[in-house]
Assembly symmetry: C2
Homo-oligomer: 269 residues x 2
């Protein structure tokens, strides 16, 4: 029996870079699927493409409109293939409309000088925090084992005082456990709930408009992480005008930075 | 006489969202044009489109291949228009090949709760730092008045000791002065030289592969900045495998965050 993550990102190739997929109730969000699973699905389409060069380096997903429950079509197009890098454009269509688009940069990595300038969060024991006050259709948080060190899910029914910042730190892995790869990592990078929930401690409609992820670890390094939880940190930079941006880091064993991600989110207030 | 920036991003509409443009020697980089001017040009195409909704909220530019000196064609396509947001796909072609692609999110802003979590660099006097050791064809730094507070251009002929971090802080504005708008801001967000230059204090081929910018100020706030310099801060997060990411903030008068940007850069070592 396949892992729910693999079932959710499954695609049936129709040739010429076109793939058929369908939403998965196990990753449902308030409206449509969890953005992270859509991101992974679009990345997966390129991953399955016979002309793919190397591994994912960067992925930007634009959430253009609601994805509704049911089947969708993913179309991939290699815009340009260089000696060591390759640029892709991807679109997800439903009912003749574009519901999401993406660009992906794939490529080969080489041994070079290496350095990490940012520092990982302190290693600390986390604890589970129940998800409360969200619609029962929101299933995707149950697809992760999240152990919060700080900034756990707010309880909208019993709001706490507004914190001074929107930071969260947590241990996270797929539930049930699944060996880490770039596809799973792409979804984990979007698994930090909207920072406006944390700052305001109350529910407001919010949705990611665009999400960019940079992959800093190759397949071997991700495989070495196995099913062990990664340490994530997320925070907002600015809220205003109906939009905010949030940024995230995902750290693996030994303080290795696996990926960073950035997103711009719509919110109602 | 038009400002060199406006001459560089000028586009001739050919109908159906297609525009003709050309590179401008004043913004030349090592290979092809300065990435920031390409980003502004692609944003400009949407700006000029009769179906544009609102102002730029986010822009991701993928530098797929070299842009050579001469004319190019820009094709824009509105993927989806919602009530208050709009998603665009943009391609820049030369000689029948895609040299750059982009996604842009445009939309309307509303009055909402506002907060900025990151803090601006301390206000400090900057000083100009000459650009040395780069090819004489690299003209774009002369299109900016840059006053460095820290992390100025390295002198590749007289390298300093490698610093512990890649941070730069500088006052920057167009040269000659030009009133700020989102188009100019999009270019300024890419005006922080590759962080590998600073860390290693020596020249290495490096080029942006993908650049995402989030606009946090509306047209009125940018117009209010006028021709006064903005305060920029840039830093890398991780170098390795032939790639690094760098992130930047651009601050206006009164500690107002105007934009943030993130990019993944190829480097040779």
């Amino acid at each position: 029996m396949s892992h729910p993550f693999d079932a959710a990102i499954a695609l049936r190739p129709r040739g010429d870079g076109v793939f058929d997929g369908a939403t998965h109730a196990g990753y449902a969000n308030m409206v449509g699927p969890f953005g992270g699973i859509t991101a992974s699905t679009l990345l997966h389409a390129v991953w399955l493409h016979p002309q793919r060069l190397g591994e994912p380096l960067a992925l930007t997903v634009n959430f253009a409109g609601p994805v509704v429950e049911g089947p969708f079509r993913v179309t991939t197009r290699a815009l340009r293939t260089n000696r060591s890098t390759q640029h892709w454009h991807i679109e997800l269509e439903q009912g003749g409309e574009v519901a999401a688009s993406a660009s992906a940069v794939f490529g080969l990595r080489r041994d070079t000088w290496t350095a990490t300038e940012i520092v990982p969060p302190p290693l600390a024991q986390g604890a589970p925090v129940p998800v409360k006050g969200l619609s029962p259709r929101v299933a995707w948080p149950q697809r992760y084992d999240m152990q919060f060190v700080k900034g756990g899910w707010p309880d909208f029914d019993n709001p706490q005082a507004e914190p001074a910042d929107s930071h969260s730190e947590l241990w996270i892995r797929d539930h049930p456990p699944r060996p880490l790869d770039a596809l799973a990592l792409a979804a984990i990078c979007d698994a930090f709930y909207p920072r406006i929930f944390r700052r305001r401690q109350r529910f407001t409609p919010a949705g990611t408009m665009t999400l960019s992820t940079y992959f800093h670890a190759d397949a071997a390094a991700l495989a070495a992480q196995g099913t062990r939880a990664v340490l994530g940190r997320a925070r907002a930079q600015h809220f205003g005008g109906g939009y905010f941006d949030q940024t995230a880091e995902v750290w693996g064993d030994g303080g290795r930075l696996l990926a960073v991600s950035h997103q711009l989110v719509y919110f109602k207030e």
